[in-house]
């Protein structure tokens, strides 16, 4: 059977979190720092104080509209074979791409991420079989060597050109979000086509506690108008920006995420959304966030349960670490959080590839996290039991003392039953020594170089490339580059 999901909340506890959420939103309300959204909310029955930017949301308004979010939708990729059906059952991985810093494997130090780095990041992410939808440079406030006001179009273009998978755009402010819509429309074959299908998606991060910021809400509005998916994601830090109790942190998260989803549904009912979490803790020894922590694993599982309670796909955050090196801490942080999120039933798991408080991206981490993901996906498939898998005939044929190596059954099921590692070393010591006693980070470095040399992403249609480049030129002109 397929393994049962891990649950950390029972039905009654989910209900308690839901009702606590409704109470906070009715009694204290939530700040929505964007006027259009406040007007839409007011028009639909919310109490609004514009001076305070505060909105009090009646429970029926929230419950009636959250219901309108779809449980399933298709996300389109440049390569149609890589289109994704998002639902409540499937788990996909979304590696982080655009970070301010990159770990330079040649020096072991971090430096600012350039457009060339983004090209490499997209290529390697494109080549990883366990990565399905890709973050991109579109989300970066700063790309080294590029004027900040046009970073999003360069980041998005580099992503589209170097990957054929589903790619993320930006929703940080109306103008940037509209630029992404123009570019995504080129992929879709026009704005009308774009409105019919999801070709780009974005993240809207709330600002905990209980605040939705202006550029992020503008993003929700633009994406909703075009019917493009948004993951509305709270980044609660238990103890800092939310109660130290994880149940309390989940209430704060739920208030923020459901408000974002409500806005999206009021703008355009049926807008595809993800219920998102990027929840972790504040490490009280130094007042820094930790995401590569076991509590984050628990928050991911609870978030999947809450999302599915609302019949909405869940976006989680895992396979991340606060470690500065690709060491054992990075390994256990990433493996532990990813396994928990996946077994909890999170539908898209964001963050593989990242380290160092999510401030640094690493190409080498891609191949390592892809390996962890391979093992996790194997775990999710569980153990199949039927006549063929019980193999009684084969056991009787081989009998005592024999072996199963030369049975056709062995080869027939080998790659379905065993996960075949891509970079993990399982050789005996002397073979490993003969091969240079390489540690994982060295093997990963070699693998990255091999992929960069050998992997060719699907070519971008020449006419579309021309159109996209023309949009970049226009945006550059507008932004006086």
């Amino acid at each position: 059977m397929k393994p049962k999901r891990i649950e950390v909340l029972d039905e009654n506890e989910i209900d308690q979190i839901h009702h606590a959420t409704l109470t906070v939103l009715e009694k204290t309300g939530i700040n929505v720092n964007e006027e259009q959204a406040r007007n839409i909310l007011r028009k639909n029955g919310a109490t609004v104080d514009d001076a305070k930017k505060r909105v009090w949301i009646p429970r029926s308004l929230l419950e009636d509209n959250v219901k309108k979010a779809p449980s399933e939708f298709i996300m389109h990729a440049r390569d149609p074979k890589l289109n994704l059906k998002i639902d409540l059952d499937t788990t996909y991985l979304e590696p982080m791409v655009g970070r301010l810093n990159i770990l330079d494997a040649s020096t072991g130090k971090r430096r600012r991420t350039t457009l060339k780095d983004l090209e490499h990041l997209m290529k390697v992410a494109n080549a990883m079989p366990n990565f399905h939808l890709l973050h991109s440079g579109a989300m970066m406030p700063h790309i080294e060597g590029i004027q900040d006001s046009v970073a999003h179009v360069h980041g998005y273009f580099t992503a589209i050109k170097n990957a054929q998978k589903v790619v993320k755009g930006t929703g940080r402010g109306t103008s940037k979000a509209e630029d992404c819509m123009r570019m995504a429309a080129v992929l879709a074959g026009g704005k009308e086509e774009l409105r019919k299908n999801a070709w780009v998606f974005t993240t809207c991060n709330t600002i905990s506690p209980l605040q939705l910021d202006k550029p992020q809400v503008e993003g929700i509005i633009v994406y909703a108008r075009y019917g493009q998916p948004v993951d509305i994601t709270a980044e609660v830090q238990s103890g800092g920006t939310a109660p130290v109790t994880l149940a309390g942190a989940l209430v704060v998260q739920n208030c923020e995420v459901l408000t974002g989803i409500l806005i999206a549904q009021l703008v355009n009912p049926g807008t595809p959304v993800f219920y998102g979490t990027c929840g972790g803790i504040m490490d009280m020894r130094m007042a820094d966030i930790s995401l590569g922590c076991v509590e984050s694993g628990l928050i991911n599982i609870a978030s999947a349960q809450l999302a599915h309670h609302y019949k909405i796909p869940c976006r989680g955050t895992a396979a991340t670490t606060e470690s500065k090196a690709l060491d054992m801490q990075a390994g256990y942080d990433k493996a532990l959080t990813l396994m928990m999120a996946a077994q909890g039933g999170v539908n898209t798991i964001f963050y593989p590839g990242v380290m160092d408080h999510a401030l640094t991206i690493s190409l080498e981490s891609y191949v390592i996290d892809n390996e962890i993901a391979g093992m996790v996906f194997r775990a999710l498939r569980g153990i199949e039991v039927d006549e063929e898998h019980l193999a009684v005939d084969i056991i009787n044929k081989v009998g005592p003392i024999g072996h199963f190596l030369n049975q056709k059954h062995t080869m027939q099921y080998l790659l379905k039953e065993h996960y075949m590692p891509t970079i993990s070393d399982r050789r005996l010591r002397e073979d490993w020594e003969k091969d240079g006693s390489k540690e994982l980070k060295d093997v990963a470095k070699e693998r990255v170089q091999k992929i960069l040399k050998e992997h060719t992403p699907m070519e971008l249609d020449k006419d579309k490339e021309k159109e996209l480049r023309a949009i970049i030129k226009e945006v550059e002109k507008r932004e006086k580059v």
Partner: protein, 215 residues
Amino acid sequence: MSHDKLVEDVRQAILNYDSEGAVKAAKDAISQKADPLKVLDAASEGIKIMGEKFHAQEIFLPQLTLAADAMVAVEKLVEENLPKGKLSHKKKIVFGTIEGDLHDIGKNIVSAMLTGAGFEVHDIGKDVPVATFIEKAKELQADIIGVSALMTTTMDGQRKLIEELKKTNMRKKFKVLIGGGCTTKEWAKKIGADGYGRDAKAAVDIAMKTVGVKA
């Protein structure tokens, strides 16, 4: 069909780790008057390639084992179709797992690989006492004694075998090669073995080197 094509089918069947296919192809070739020794050479070439592929992690152990089975089946067929003694120029190996040890999967694979490499392999099984190894080697006038051990509790049998050969003044008569999961190059050196094979491919390489056969 040309003899070349028929013989090529045998090689292909080994590469496809297809025992039935290999035997069928070999039967076809021999019935059409292809030279049985050429059939055997083709099969040997196939298993040699499979050994290399396994070493390079291009194929997995079950594929190598199935190919080795196919090789052994072809060899049996070829032998039946040759005048007795035609293959006697081959170097002989007495090969087994030492007393107390029931692990023989690795030994079986090496056995098939050595057959593929052109050795006359006398596989005397597992849990074999030192005396039996020596008797058999004497009887067959073997070139090599191959001793496998998987466990640290049984590997000492490899040392005992060499000591016994020394005691009875027969150490120079046979080359002794060792292998098995718990053994190492250092261990082989320590007990005075003539060679050590880490895996199937290495075992074949060292066996060939030891008796001066070119790969």
